[in-house]
């Protein structure tokens, strides 16, 4: 039964990927891509990566879908000109041949993977006790390969600065996203009042259990960011102007705390980002708590895009 399920999943995913590429209209392609994200979540479950499945469910299915569907609807009018520029038949054949070659080479690699597979799982298991966290993924993210996570937080911040830098001069420092009108009798208004309290609890819960079970700050922060967006979509709250000092401080608080802990490690434990024995879990929690608001804000603001309006609401 499980084989049937897996084969079905693989076939569906491939079909949707092809649809995403060949669909005539961009919104249709994006809807295919949203379903594709949901299917990937199921595949991650089948591959025993529950943490990855959570991330995919939150980001791949949720935030990316919101981002792309809004853009696709807005850019609708540009599609006819783009279709007129269709590449020539020879280009298409060449592209098909190249893609087939890449797929073939990768397939050969997949079939020729070494047996037994190399793995770091035993090393992780042997050293996880030192970090005092129960979830091996969290141990990898915040102890064994903490540098990756630090750089990731900084990359996210840079991406946000990149998005902001696209603001027209007169809107710099202003509020991102379109101005939404509240509709007190509307359904969205209702959902935006009922869902966020539940969503915030769920987001903090996913963040909190991340130390010992699948979950963690990225997934939790994504849920929180989505709830924030819902409130802004319904017009119940406006986006903050990006020049606000508190906003800037919160945005750098996470990476700064991370770096501070790293420097502390360099002083007390002999290497950047290494934790003094017996304090690992405390420091990991400090980093996670500091990163949580930063990640929530960065993810939410990134979806809103560049500021387009002045400071006035």
């Amino acid at each position: 039964m499980i084989e049937v399920l897996n084969f079905g999943l693989a076939a569906l995913i491939l079909g949707l990927a092809v649809w995403t590429i060949v669909a005539r209209e961009a919104p249709a392609a994006v809807v295919g891509f949203i379903v594709y994200g949901l299917l990937l979540t199921l595949v991650w479950l089948q591959l025993h990566g529950i943490d990855v499945a959570l991330t995919e469910a939150a980001i791949g299915g949720g935030l990316t879908g919101v981002l792309l569907i809004s853009a696709a609807v807005r850019l609708r009018s540009t599609e006819t000109t783009a279709r007129a520029q269709r590449s020539s038949a020879s280009t298409r054949w060449l592209a098909a041949a190249l893609s087939a070659a890449v797929t073939g080479a990768l397939a050969i690699c997949v079939l020729a993977l070494p047996e037994p597979a190399p793995t770091l799982a035993p090393q992780v298991l042997a050293n996880i006790a030192v970090t005092e966290v129960g979830n091996p993924i969290t141990a990898v993210l915040l102890a064994f390969r903490a540098m990756d996570t630090l750089l990731e937080a900084i990359v996210l911040l840079f991406a946000l600065i990149g998005v902001w830098s696209l603001a027209p001069d007169r809107a710099w420092g202003g509020r991102p996203g379109p101005l939404q009108q509240a509709d007190p009798n509307g359904m969205l208004d209702y959902v935006a009042r009922v869902l966020p309290p539940i969503g915030i609890v769920a987001g903090i819960y996913i963040f909190w259990i991340g130390a010992d079970h699948p979950g963690g700050k990225f997934q939790g922060a994504t849920i929180l960011a989505a709830m924030w967006l819902l409130v802004m979509m319904a017009g119940l709250a406006d986006a903050p102007p990006i020049s606000r000092r508190w906003l800037r401080w919160l945005l750098v608080a996470g990476p700064l705390a991370f770096i501070a802990v790293g420097v502390l490690g360099a002083i007390t434990a002999g290497a950047f980002l290494s934790y003094p024995l017996g304090h690992a879990k405390t420091l990991i929690l400090v980093i996670e708590f500091a990163l949580m608001p930063t990640l929530t804000l960065v993810l939410g603001l990134m979806l809103l895009g560049a500021p387009l309006r002045g400071e006035a609401p």
């Binding site: 359904m187 969205l188 209702y190 959902v191 009922v194 869902l195 539940i198």
Partner: protein
């Protein structure tokens, strides 16, 4: 008792699966967008609800049971809102938008 609970699970999950089947048939066969929307909201409300009811005896703790009921309620809430919103765009711009 255990047999009874297993029977309950099987009956409820099959009933839930039937509603997903019905929802799909409706989505594919109904003539216009609003009737299709009607078929869809039956499927996610009742189909998922029956699956959740069927799974209740199989979960290993009370909190897990509460969690899956909560998941159903969340889907009810957001599904109903989404359906209402989709209907609004349909009314505004015609079914072929």
């Amino acid at each position: 008792m255990k047999l009874l609970l297993e029977l309950w699970t099987i009956v409820a999950v099959i009933a839930g699966a039937f509603f997903f089947f019905a929802g799909t048939v409706g989505l594919l066969r109904f003539p216009d967008s609003l009737t299709r929307l009607h078929a869809l909201s039956k499927a996610d409300n009742l189909g998922l609800g029956l699956v959740v009811l069927g799974l209740l005896p199989q979960v290993d703790s009370v909190s897990a049971g509460l969690k899956i009921v909560g998941i159903w309620l969340l889907v009810l809430l957001s599904g109903a809102t989404a359906a209402q919103w989709i209907a609004r765009t349909l009314r505004q711009s015609g079914p072929d938008s």
